[in-house]
Amino acid sequence: MLVGVIAGAHGVRGEVRIRSFTADPADVAAYGPVSDESGARRFAVRIRSAVRGQVIARLDGVADRNAAESLKGLRLYVPRDTLPRLGKDEWYLADLIGLRAEDTAGKPLGRVKAVHNFGAGDVLEIEGAGGATQFLSFTRRAVPEVDIAGGRIVIEPPVEVEAKGEAANEADDASGRRT
């Protein structure tokens, strides 16, 4: 699982700047040693400080600026099983994104493109075959089944009803605008 990328060197003592992709930037070091994509190179990470949305860290085996600069752009991964186990009805976004969305009859409706949270609960963004997206509340009623192993979710899109006032309807007719 991708947890960060090395943005560049910091100072002359071999420290690096890491752009962290974890919820708390400092957690890039919380899941044990990180490795490159192939797993051939592994580094223990010690966080020194944070600056401009990035973390300054020291990697084991990197002792000078030249070595740190040579790592620029390196993507840092941790094994999926090092992340803490989640509770019931809770999944990592990385596991949800990309799942096939099907209706209750098994008809494909698209793929999970993203999971948002705008303050009113988690919302799945489902991308259809034509590229059009629809948003769906991540509730037991709208998403009765999540099958990570099978790579799919079953969705039951809610019935859409419109609420418009009389004044809004009249304004609509006149100018195409809604309130």
Binding site: M1, L2, V3, F21, T22, A23, D27, Y31, L83, L86, G87, D89, E90, W91, Y92, L93, A94, L96, I97, A114, V115, H116, N117, F118, G119, A120, G121, D122, V123, T133, F135, L136, S137, F138, T139, R140, R141, A142, V143, V146, E156, P158, V159, E160, V161, E162, A163, K164, G165, E166, A168, R178, T179
Partner: protein, 95 residues
């Protein structure tokens, strides 16, 4: 300046009627609304509204701690497309 308390919260009247109708129907409904200015009332708790953000209707599942806020606060009109956090999780709500 904050709204005077004696006026009470502002809400477009038709939302109340629609919410009542939706609740009594018992169906899995999303009420599409354009009224981002309306205050969320206790009567709306448990219902899902599709709040227009100028482009799409974003689902807003109303919970108790959202009462008193405006619908528009939960449907941002500008979406930041960043890298999603690797260790972030989503919890499926009961409703």
């Amino acid at each position: 300046m904050a709204r005077s308390v004696w006026k009470g919260p502002f809400v477009d009247g038709y939302l109340l009627k629609k919410a009542e109708k939706s609740r009594s129907s018992g169906r899995n409904e999303i009420i599409k609304i354009w009224s981002r200015r309306s205050t969320i009332l206790p009567q709306f708790v448990g219902l899902t509204f599709g709040v227009y953000n100028g482009h799409k209707f974003l689902p807003v599942l109303v919970t108790e701690n959202m009462v008193g806020h405006k619908f528009g606060e939960f449907a941002p009109t500008r979406v930041f497309q960043g890298h999603s956090a690797a260790d972030k999780s989503a919890k499926r709500a009961e409703a």
